[in-house]
């Protein structure tokens, strides 16, 4: 390959990326492909769908990464190509925009005065310098700086504003890039995780959303209390977690976490995101002997505490409490330690009567599900004290300030691009045999209607003032 061929090739590539046709194509491709992910459930939601579809279809969809398409390589590649297109297009066009931005005022142009509508070309009586002062005064009311150029038979006044309007588009493009960079910074150096903390418990480990791995926080978080309030109609009114952030065993920060009111501690932000009722440590148990009806009073027991059996055959304790054991409702794991023989462990259920009716007796004969596994006693679970576990979103995103900056600049850029224009105004006052001739001309890079309106207003103002000064 010769040098010129490589040159041509890279030129062709450069030309492709400077084209707005490519931009339009990419914008549409990005818009259309984005639809897939709104129709196909993503991430966690995809599991349910996958069970209902045929394995062939599932493997096609998952090889196209359509179950997590917004994080897939091909989707990022489209965004990356669009970003590259945006950068190259902007670089390609920016120099000429900068030239227009920096251009020296051109006072001696005759082109703006061509095809002037008749009403912006009028004669006036009076002295040149008086008319000049009046005209300059009108111009000055709207434009800060006025340039003036005198020639033998005429004076040209020139003023302009809104040069920065040429740069608005580039500000928008730059801010889009800043937002994109912010999102990359966030995904490289930040994390998104979640954790459930039961009331009264302390954690320092959270689970990352990205790959479900466990990550350790540099501090401890304790949930002192979770509160959920409801309106009269049953809709939730408030979710609140009272949290304590602890370092070296000492509470460093304490606060109430509410939806919409996150708490940040050492750069890591906690958000109230969900809750669920879970079993507490207290249970109520009744004991009966030889199948007799148990006494009226239930024993209150705290998990882990040991109690002696009524007949002094040994002692027992509740080892585990579950709010919902394998879909069978609240349950407790009882462990009996007799003075003679092996220890016995079995689950007892709060809904035992219902379970006995619904399931075949063979299933319940398993020793680990038999409430009478330790003869001659039968255990029954009367109640489980419930408490809450609060579900928190835990995240750190160092890209956020960049994203916010991008958002702010994009609004300024849009405003500059769509609502400002670079306006130039020329007023030529010429000496003629019959007095003075005034012409008002102008141009704008945007909003042609607006500049025409401004020129008309300016013309009639000048006319009015000049005629008042020295009536024709």
């Amino acid at each position: 390959m010769t040098q010129s061929e490589t040159g041509n090739k890279s030129n062709a590539l450069w030309n492709l990326f400077t084209s707005v046709k490519l931009t339009l194509g990419l914008l549409i491709v990005l818009a259309v492909t984005s639809i897939f992910g709104t129709v196909i459930p993503q991430q966690e939601g995809a599991m349910e769908l996958a069970e209902r579809l045929s394995p062939g279809l599932v493997s096609i969809l998952s090889s196209l990464q359509l179950f997590d398409m917004y994080h897939s390589l091909w989707f990022r590649l489209i965004i990356g190509t669009l970003a590259l297109n945006l950068i190259i297009c902007s670089l390609h066009r920016f120099p000429s925009a900068l030239k227009r931005f920096q251009a020296a005022p051109k006072l001696d142009r005759s082109k703006p005065f061509e095809d002037l509508p008749p009403h912006r070309n009028f004669n006036a009586a009076g002295k040149l310098d008086e008319v000049l002062t009046l005209t300059a005064g009108v111009l000055k009311s709207k434009y800060k700086r006025i340039h003036q150029k005198e020639s033998e038979d005429a004076i040209v006044l020139y003023a302009e504003k809104g040069r920065f309007s040429h740069l608005g588009v580039y500000l928008i493009h730059l801010s889009v890039l800043i937002v994109l960079i912010g999102s990359i910074v966030g995904s490289l150096f930040g994390f998104e995780a979640y954790v459930n903390i039961p009331e009264g418990e302390t954690i320092n480990k959270v689970r990352l959303r990205k790959n479900e791995t466990v990550s350790t926080l540099p501090f401890d978080v304790r949930c002192d209390r979770f509160l959920v309030e409801f309106y009269e109609n049953g809709a939730p009114k408030e979710y609140r977690s009272d949290l304590a952030f602890m370092e070296d065993g000492k509470v460093a920060l304490q606060g109430a976490l509410l939806v919409n009111h996150p708490i940040t501690f050492e750069g890591i932000t906690f958000y109230q995101s969900s809750y669920r009722p879970i079993a507490g440590d207290k249970v109520r148990i009744k004991l009966s002997r030889d199948g007799n009806n148990p006494g009226p009073s239930a024993l209150e027991l705290i998990r882990g505490n040991t109690l002696e059996l009524p007949g002094k055959e040994g002692h027992f304790q509740v080892v585990e409490v579950a709010e919902d054991f394998r879909g069978l409702g609240p349950a407790a794991l009882v462990s009996v330690h007799p003075h003679e023989g092996d220890k016995k462990e079995f689950w007892i259920f709060q809904n035992f009567e219902m379970i006995r009716k619904r399931f075949p007796p063979a299933m319940l004969r398993s020793p680990s599900l038999d409430p009478s596994a330790f003869k001659p006693y039968t255990f029954s679970l009367e109640g489980v004290e419930m408490k809450y576990a609060t579900g928190l979103q835990v995240s750190r995103d160092p890209g956020v300030p960049l994203v916010w900056t991008g958002f702010f600049l994009i609004m300024i850029g849009l405003f500059v691009t769509f609502f400002t224009s670079h306006r130039s105004i020329w007023i030529r006052i010429a000496k003629t045999k019959r007095g003075l001739n005034i012409r008002v001309a102008g141009k704008a890079n945007k909003n042609p209607v607006g500049i025409e309106r401004e020129l008309d207003q300016m013309t009639s103002k000048i006319k009015g003032k000049v005629e008042k000064q020295s009536p024709v």
Binding site: A31, T38, E238, N260, V403
Partner: protein, 279 residues
């Protein structure tokens, strides 16, 4: 009380739609003036009802701006369309857009008031909606939607006007402004809509950051608002850089507004975080 007034406003907007149509068909200025009067009366009545609803929510002890569910958003959508339309009518002194704008407002009001699945009860705010961003987010989004809605109407008018034959054009077509004016107005509406949609996405994003812990979650409504944004971004580039005008732009603007409608209604049939807008 407020919802009874609002259900009557539906008919007021229907009447203004009919009057604008009459003006277009008969070519009589009188119907046009009457239409403007009726529409303005409807807007005032609707504003009053919205304020009453706001006050009523405070009387119920669950005070919040009436922008919190599908019913309230539909009412507000109709309000923004009529408000923006009347502003344009006043600025341009042309009423033909009325025949395309008022039916949108009428449909939104009718859907809100007479759909069996939409409750007009004032509901308390769920925790996620208790935020100062609610008003900013909903306001910017719906003004944006309304501007896109009017651009859609103007694009339809453009396509109609283009089909006009030099001989025997009927009154209806003749009252519609020149196609170059329509093209320009439609573009201006898209610009306003784009600015507001951008602001709507930004306010939503900042809000999501404090409510959900992430400024962008690819939730279907977020994604569809981005799709809408991309379509209108393509429209603006095709006009500003490629110099496209006329038919192509009118069609893009119609596609854009279908994306708006899907972002607003269609997304309710998909699972996602924005479930407050469903009923």
């Amino acid at each position: 009380m407020n919802s009874i007034i609002l259900s009557y406003i539906t008919f007021v907007y229907f009447a203004s739609f009919m009057l604008y149509l009459l003006m277009m068909v008969m070519g009589k200025e009188f119907f046009g003036r009457l239409a403007t009067f009726v529409t303005l009366a409807g807007l005032l009545g609707q504003s009053l009802a919205i304020v009453l609803r706001w006050i009523e929510s405070y009387d119920l002890g669950i005070g919040h701006a009436p922008l919190s569910n599908l019913y309230e958003s539909l009412i507000f959508f109709a309000w923004t369309i009529v408000f923006l339309y009347l502003l344009i009518e006043w600025r341009t002194k042309n009423r033909s857009l009325g025949a395309f704008a008022t039916p949108l407002a009428f449909l939104a009001m009718a859907y809100a008031s007479y759909s069996p699945t939409i409750s007009s009860r004032i509901q308390p705010l769920v925790p996620a909606l208790k935020s100062n961003w609610l008003i900013a987010h909903v306001l910017t989004c719906f003004f944006g939607y309304a501007a896109f809605g009017l651009a859609f109407g103007l694009s339809l008018m453009y396509l109609l006007k283009k089909r006009e034959k030099p001989q025997g054009s009927n009154v209806f077509i003749r009252i519609i402004p020149e196609s170059s004016i329509l093209d320009d107005m439609s573009y201006q509406m898209v610009v306003i809509g784009f600015l507001l949609l951008t602001l709507g996405i930004i306010t939503g994003s900042v809000w999501a950051h404090s409510a959900w812990g992430s400024y962008w979650s690819w939730d279907p409504k977020e994604t569809w608002s981005l799709i809408t944004w991309l379509v209108y971004a393509a429209l603006l580039h095709s006009r500003m850089v490629r110099g496209w005008k006329g038919n192509k732009l009118a069609i893009l603007s119609i596609i854009g507004f279908s994306c708006v409608l899907f972002t607003y209604f269609g997304v309710n049939y998909l699972a996602g975080l924005h479930s407050y807008g469903k009923s």
